[in-house]
């Protein structure tokens, strides 16, 4: 019940991470620029609930992030009741639970065998220690495998857009038909589908990989039930460490046990529920499967006071040392590409309000919330632009969308504050620059003498405009003198929003490009002496 509730809540909040549907905004509100368009629901709630995100952000960013009292609550809860987060709240856990439960891949003996405790379960502690250590050295990799970030990213960047694209193609096909009834179905379908799957075709770089990874971890459930939760999940590991003093404990009555092993067959966490073995509090996800499976009532869960100390989480020295070593190496290796200390990629354009790159990498969870919420689909998971350290962090691709001048949705949804909360007024009046535009004169229509065009200037949203026109004479390719308006970029006014690049009629590789030089967040990246 509670699992279903939280899974549905998670998906609901995921769908709500979009431009609000309320287009009937009172225009008296729109009359003053102070008012922002904000989301109707607290979409970052599940991230605030996640102690792993909280702790790593605390370690790496040295910041108490607003709203993470929830995560603290979960930690306290775990102290008293064990990993009930895994068994009752975690939406990804629920999904794995379902997948493992509905059609188990393994039969009787095989299943009993698979649910025996296995040394591979230490791997999650390795990951946990890796993430904590890396966070300590200022690189927050947690989001790569944190269940909330993983699940959100997979659903919002791969699963939903994938399904949405399929449906939209179908509807577009119907819309082109000459049969009128198909057209109505298409229009109606689009009204229904768009608010959930997004307007138009969505695109996210490397989304195919995110999707395949997601399918892969679902498939792993066929090797061992809840494979992710028991062997991979770093959050599960963290909660397992805290679960040692749990008041909610298993009580085994060996005298009633008939050695049927039904409890083991149903134990998805491989937490040794069988009477006679010592129960692993740190592995138990409190799904109560064993309790339900036991025909003899030899297993009961009881609240005991005072809390007893249970068995130590079985980390293994190798996992600890390996984790420390890997956690030490990753941040150091991640800086070897020189993007932090030498020069960053020109096309690494971060969302407006992003912290300086060093601080950004301390906090960004790569969860994809900003990418999901961006109404123009400009924000994409970075592949190489931010280096290994910044894999899947947000990056604006201006040929795919642009940063709308008054929009601040991404800054409002960032759960850890890697993108700081901006108001529309602040964004415009400061101004918050995310880069600057330059013109490629060889490709530009008027500059290359191929005809008049003022599209970049027309779309430039700043006042006064950052793209200016000057009436000049150029030569056309056949040598004739032509009098056209030539665009010039005025760096003083350019905020790097990228609408010029997006709207440029030269497609693919536009004649006006935005690079990160000039972005407000970086002192080193400034171009002009004084703005």
């Amino acid at each position: 019940m509670s699992q279903a509730f939280f899974l549905i809540l998670f998906i609901f909040l995921l769908i709500e991470s979009r431009l609000p549907q309320n287009i009937y905004l009172d225009y008296s509100i729109a009359l003053n620029a102070e008012k922002n368009i904000e989301l109707d629901y607290p979409v970052k709630y599940f991230f605030q609930l996640d102690p792993l995100i909280w702790i790593t952000s605390l370690i790496s960013g040295h910041q108490w992030i607003k709203g993470f009292g929830w995560a603290l609550g979960i930690v306290v809860l775990t102290f008293f009741f064990g990993r009930i987060f895994c068994g009752f709240i975690c939406p990804l856990g629920t999904l794995h639970h379902m997948v493992s439960y509905i059609r188990p891949a393994l039969k009787k003996q095989n299943m009993i065998h698979a649910n025996q405790k296995h040394p591979s379960q230490r791997f999650k502690y390795f990951l946990l220690i890796l993430f904590l250590m890396a966070a300590f050295l200022g690189l927050n990799l947690t989001g790569l495998l944190d269940p909330m970030a993983f699940f959100f990213r997979s659903l919002s960047l791969a699963v939903f857009p994938g399904i949405g694209t399929g449906i939209k193609e179908l509807l577009d096909l119907a819309a082109q038909s000459d049969i009128k009834i198909l057209n109505y179905i298409s229009y109606g379908g689009e009204v229904l589908v768009s608010p959930v799957f997004g307007y138009g075709y969505k695109a996210f770089k490397s989304a195919w990989f995110i999707g395949i990874l997601f399918l892969f971890i679902l498939f792993l459930n066929r090797i061992r039930p809840r494979f992710w939760c028991r062997t991979l999940c770093p959050l599960g590991a963290l909660l397992g460490v805290f679960a040692r003093f749990s008041m909610l404990r298993i009580e085994k009555h060996s005298e009633k046990c008939t050695d049927c092993n039904l409890c083991l067959q149903s134990c998805q966490g491989a937490a040794s529920p069988v009477p006679g073995q010592e129960w692993d509090a740190s592995e138990c996800m409190f799904c109560f499967n064993c309790f339900n499976a036991c025909p003899e009532n030899a297993i009961v869960f009881k609240l005991g006071w005072p809390p007893e100390v249970s068995k130590k989480p079985d980390m293994g020295r190798r996992a600890v040392l390996g984790g420390l070593l890997a956690g030490l190496s990753f941040p150091l290796l991640g800086r070897l590409d020189g993007r932090l200390h030498k020069v960053s990629d020109a096309r690494l354009i971060r969302p407006p309000g992003s912290l300086p790159e060093k601080d950004f990498l301390k906090l960004c969870q790569r969860c994809g919330l900003c990418m999901k919420v961006c109404p123009t689909n400009a924000i994409n998971p970075a592949l190489t632009e931010a280096g290994m350290a910044g894999f899947w962090t947000p990056n604006l691709i201006m040929s795919q969308g642009y940063c709308e001048y008054t929009c601040t949705l991404c800054s409002g949804v960032c759960p850890t504050g890697a993108i700081r909360n901006l108001s529309g007024k602040e964004k415009i009046e400061t101004p918050v620059r995310i880069g600057s535009a330059y013109i490629d004169r060889g490709r530009c229509l008027p500059w290359s003498g191929n005809g008049p065009c003022i599209v970049c200037e027309e779309h430039c949203p700043t006042s006064p405009k950052a793209i200016r026109l000057r009436q000049e004479t150029t030569r056309s390719p056949d040598g004739k003198a032509v009098n056209v308006k030539l665009p010039y970029v005025d760096l003083k006014n350019c905020v790097g929003c990228g609408i010029c690049e997006y709207k440029c009629p030269v497609k693919g590789n536009p004649a006006i490009l935005v690079i990160s030089a000039g972005e407000s967040r970086s002192v080193a990246n400034q171009i002009l002496l004084k703005l």
Binding site: I23, Y24, L25, K180, L192, Y199, P452, I454, V455, E458
Partner: protein, 313 residues
């Protein structure tokens, strides 16, 4: 559920009804439309300038008075008509920045059409910024909610390739609701534009097509005239209550805006634009598309020759 004034079910029903109605009326009225235009052509065309002079005049009242002076909205909109209004709500800018049609004017026109017995009043524009943001910020969404008019989302499947038979454009994707309407009212805002000089009524039709719109700028005046000829609105009402005199067409600052307190209504698209050009101290013939419009027989820029009225509130 304050946020969803229309449920999904309702909206589907509505859309099904609309598109059904559209298709039918479109088919039925297609042959008549041409003849009715020919009939108005035989009448003397008119141009009406509404000026708001009193200190706190109502824009809505001014819009009403202007239509009254033209003989009432009934002259243009018949009972059971599907009326599509094409405002300029291209930019997600609040109304005071004058980048978009004044929502009060829009509201007045929607109400007038409804009073004339229109079966459906629709607001349709293919916006430049994200349409949902435009609807919200320009106030068009609010107008739709208040009046019950439909706001058409410019989805890609509503762009259909059509033969424009223009001088420059042959086949181009156009925004379907505008073609399938019984009556089309053009409701632009008057602004400066860096390439075409001014954005007025005829240029508003660039916002009614899809496809590679940005390429139209390579021959802007002729493509404007082609589109104006194709869409041929029943009537044009230029919103010049406040005009953008600098940094057009997107603006972005109060300092780009001048108060003009005027509305210009005409059944001659060229004359309406010519008259509005005067507000920016342009000679009509200096604006390329106005001159071309006259040349290709869309109307005349010598608006002085038309039946002129002035309404002052």
């Amino acid at each position: 559920m304050n946020y969803h004034p229309i449920t999904r079910r309702e909206s589907i029903k509505k859309i099904l009804k609309i598109s059904g109605g559209l298709a039918l009326t479109g088919v039925i009225t297609w042959p008549f439309q041409k003849t009715s235009l020919a009939w108005t052509g035989s009448n003397k065309k008119f141009i009406i300038e509404g000026i708001g002079q009193s200190h706190e005049y109502s824009v809505k009242v001014l819009a009403r008075k202007v239509f009254e002076a033209a003989g009432g909205i009934q002259k243009f909109v018949s009972k059971q008509d599907v009326v599509v209004i094409k405002p300029n709500i291209s930019w997600a800018r609040p109304p005071y920045l004058a980048a978009t049609t004044n929502p009060e004017v829009l509201e007045a026109v929607v109400e007038l059409c409804q009073e004339a017995g229109a079966k459906k009043v629709r607001i349709a524009d293919h916006t430049i910024h994200d349409a949902r943001r435009c609807f919200a910020i320009t106030g068009a969404g609010m107008v739709a909610k208040k009046t019950g008019a439909d706001l058409v989302y410019p989805r890609s499947s509503l762009m259909r390739n059509m033969k424009l038979r223009g001088h420059r454009l042959d086949v181009w994707p156009v925004f379907l609701p505008l073609v399938e309407a019984d009556k089309v009212i053009n409701l632009p805002v008057a602004k400066v534009h860096s390439l075409s000089g001014l954005t007025l009524g005829m240029k508003n039709w660039i916002g009614a097509v899809g496809g590679r719109r940005s390429a139209l700028h390579q021959d802007i005046h002729l493509t404007i005239v082609d589109l104006a000829q194709f869409f041929n609105p029943t009537i044009t009402l230029i919103d010049a209550t406040r005009i953008m005199v600098a940094n057009g067409p997107s603006g972005g600052s109060r300092s780009d805006v001048a108060v003009s307190n005027r509305l210009i209504l005409s059944d001659d698209p060229v004359a309406a634009d010519a008259k509005a050009a005067g507000l920016f101290n342009f000679r009509p013939q200096d604006i390329g598309f106005i001159g071309l419009g006259e040349k290709w027989g869309l109307g005349t820029y010598e608006f002085q020759k038309l039946c002129q009225h002035k309404v002052i509130v």
